[in-house]
Amino acid sequence: MAQVVADREAIQEFRQALLTLAARLQEVLAAVDAGIARSETSLSLAEARSRQRVYQLRNELDYCLSAAAYGYPVDCSSLYYALDQAEEYLNWVLALKRRFNDALRWYDSTRNRLEKLLTHQLSQSIAFLDRRISALEAYHATQLLETATAIAGSGIWQLMGAVPALLRRSQAGLNKALGDVGEEIAAVILSRRYGLQELPFTQPTHGFDRVFAAPGLPVIVVESKTSSRGKLRLRQTNKGQQASPGWIADKSVRMADPNSTQWSPVNERIGRLIQEMGAQNVPSLAVVTDPARRVADVYARDAAGGWTLLEGEIRVDDYADEEG
């Protein structure tokens, strides 16, 4: 049996720390931007003043040398010295400007990479942690823990064992927990049994449960259900049945719309990919988990819009044995 020991509170605190980090880094980025702007202004002014000073001293020296050539009793040595000093200062300013520009180029490249990472991967990180927290909360709900700080046992396998206990509790309050359990099981079966690769995305409240890919199939939409009777029941919506082409098309539009709550950078990419492929060409799978009997059925949407049973009665415990 695979072992998972995960402290839900530690994950929650880390999740919060990630969000705080992003907010504080945004403050640092803005402050540094202001510092850069001030420095650029200072450098430009210093360069202009230095050039002006050198120009003036050269003129004065020329005037002094002309006067000396005409026999006037003038001493130009102080102007020579001042011009040397001014040219030296100008060279220092120009060298500093070059160093500043080099440092700025390096800074900009790391800043861009960091910003990109914060924009694109932070939401995925948070979504990933949210899924772990949900799974652990489902486990927590079973009250099988002896302490509040340590959660013993594997995510889904222990959860499966805990599901009968869940079912004895208020169904309404446990729907979300069961949904999370079903999703975890669906993900493991599809990845390990069918070799599909899960695509990280920001899981919206009313969107796809999971998204997978396989060679030649860049997007596969997956719906996961839990049913004590093992029956596939997909909800009807005003855009069609869940996981139908109409429903997928509607979700893909929302995922790609920055004004939608279902938008995120990674969701937008998946949404646009679906739009390019055409929702009718996006394969859909449904995994129905029967938590009481510890089995799962996998269905695929067929060309006629119906659902064909690909494989039934998959023993989820078999995977626990594989994990050793």
Binding site: A2, V5, A10, L43, L45, A46, F100, Y107, L114
Partner: protein, 68 residues
Amino acid sequence: MRENVSHSYAELQRISGEWQNVQSSWHDSTTDYFANNFWAPLEDELTDYIRALENLADVIEEVRFLTE
């Protein structure tokens, strides 16, 4: 500018500490996935960013002398 470097270092240390705290109590297969795909890239980019920021702060400190 120096205080931004300090703040960034402090943030890196804080988030690293939080991660070590999580790692000590999260030992399933998803830990490695998260570590490799999310945490490691973030830590690397953040470290690179702070080094570049520190370098820039040194130069900006010199620029500040121009106006003093």
